[in-house]
Amino acid sequence: MSEQQAPSNPLTRFITDDENCWTLEQYQTHGGYDGLKKALTMTSPDVLETIKQSGLRGRGGAGFPTGLKWSFVPQGDDAPSPKYMIVNADEMEPGAFKDRWLLEKSPHQILEGLIVGGFTLQADIGYVFIRGDYYLAIERIEKAIQECYDAGLLGKNIQGSGFDYDIHIHTSAGRYICGEETALINSLEGKRANPRAKPPFPQVAGLWGKPTIVNNVETFCNLPHIINFGPDWFKGLGRCKDAGTKIFGVSGRVKTPGLWELPMGTPIRELIEVHGGGMCDGYKLKGYLPGGGSTDFLTEEHLDTPMDYDEIGKVRSRMGTGTIIVLDDKYCPIEMVINLVKFFAQESCGWCTPCREGLPWGVEILEKIEQGRGEMCDIEQLEALTRFAAPGNTFCALAPGAVEPLQSALNYYRDDFIKHIEQGCCPYEAGEHNHD
């Protein structure tokens, strides 16, 4: 295969069975850093325009158009300096494991994206903000950064372009809220990771009060390929409206859980039944969270929905991280919601009331129902709670995300809630995975 041939799997074509596929040498033999070299021959505004045209949307969960987000960074001689570019590699969304894969197998792809991004906005310093528990990923990113300096891909006058750029790594001390971009910036400043009120937006006043861009690992990975193969190629990769490919994943009781790079708009059924191998013997599909722990449940009737930001939105859930968590018929859905809400309650930074007080209260009511002590009015109480934590009532998206699985469980699994209350016990008690 010619390396110049436009690939259909841009993000994973560097990932081979070879243990050393992460190294600079192997990355470059497969066309690595071609995108950066091409970008350096263009003007920064042209690179930004190319990213805008590609229709790339942020892969961290919110799906905000990347080019648009970046266009708010002040440019020109009187723009504030230095400018910062940050890769959010603090993956901690329940059920999300795609960034770890990219970090461990293709660290140079992330760095190339970070350098392309830096050149696009004429930034001075890039950061990789990485989860502290990802030991192998940290080791490889550190080595990859050193390889870049040795090869003249970082530092002063990169590849003779006159562009100076440095990359540092920050290993996180562990809190889910660090994934929120303004909380991440506070954490990078050595503070507690409380989100900041917006405006000002980080593009204008972020790290140390300077213009800052924060994007997900996978978002950065897409940039070199968009520059290398062009925005039209990128748009053509998607099956629906959304452009490009996506790293999708499935976990839970399916036969072959894992991660795959597939076109945007791949139907959920194909992910669970073909790539995930379908349900394990003896288990039936009860539902699933399409994009990680902070997305609304969907059920069997939504299986033909394409994994595309707008299409998933139409059936009232979110694409999120694109990593599906499958709920089987032997696991109590209330138990699953307790696990999730407990997680969000624990990881709440405590800054605002609906999150700090509301989520533990939710856990308390849910546990009461699970243990057979629930009353019918508890269901209404939980519904009220999902409204208190709705968007607009909180500083950041943690609490609204936390109540997404809860509100949809109250909708799709209402019978289960009622059964728990009427029977005075968990009807899944006999299931082998509950209450052991």
Binding site: H168, A173, E335, H433
Partner: protein, 185 residues
Amino acid sequence: MPELIQPNKNKPGQHPIIPTNETVELSESEIKQINDALHHVPFASGASIDALKIIQQHRGWVSDACLKALSDHMKVSTADLDAVATFYNLIFRQPVGKVVLHPCDGISCDLMGGKKIRKCLSKKLGIGNGQTTADDQFTLIPLPCLGACDKAPVMIASEKLFELMDENSVANILKDLSSKAGDKS
């Protein structure tokens, strides 16, 4: 000298501030690493998390006396340092065992029997979450989703990821980690 607060260590009714007379000195290599971290940030407070992690890397946990020594070195108040130290999951303000076990309690692991693994660990070691065994070998601290959901249930310990755990593998893993912990002491 400012008095230091020891969180969660007071009995109800006691005065909340326990002064510490204990002092420690930071080692040369700690100071070198901390100064490297300070070099990267425009304000000293920016290196707080890195500095706390450096102390922990050398000493296993961050004591009040260490916090004071760090405060003196960085010119950042003990209150600010403690606010940061108590916020993050991976900074320990209490002593921990030689090996800290982090079984995953994320939903993908629990769907695959993660709760059983945590119960099994707890039973075998005779400790609950956040506790340390009497011989100081193990501390049990479950962490949220460790990002290996296709290999659930999983656990991190001694910077190693253990995948596809079951109740039978728990004993072997503990034995293996125990001998390594023995080597360190």
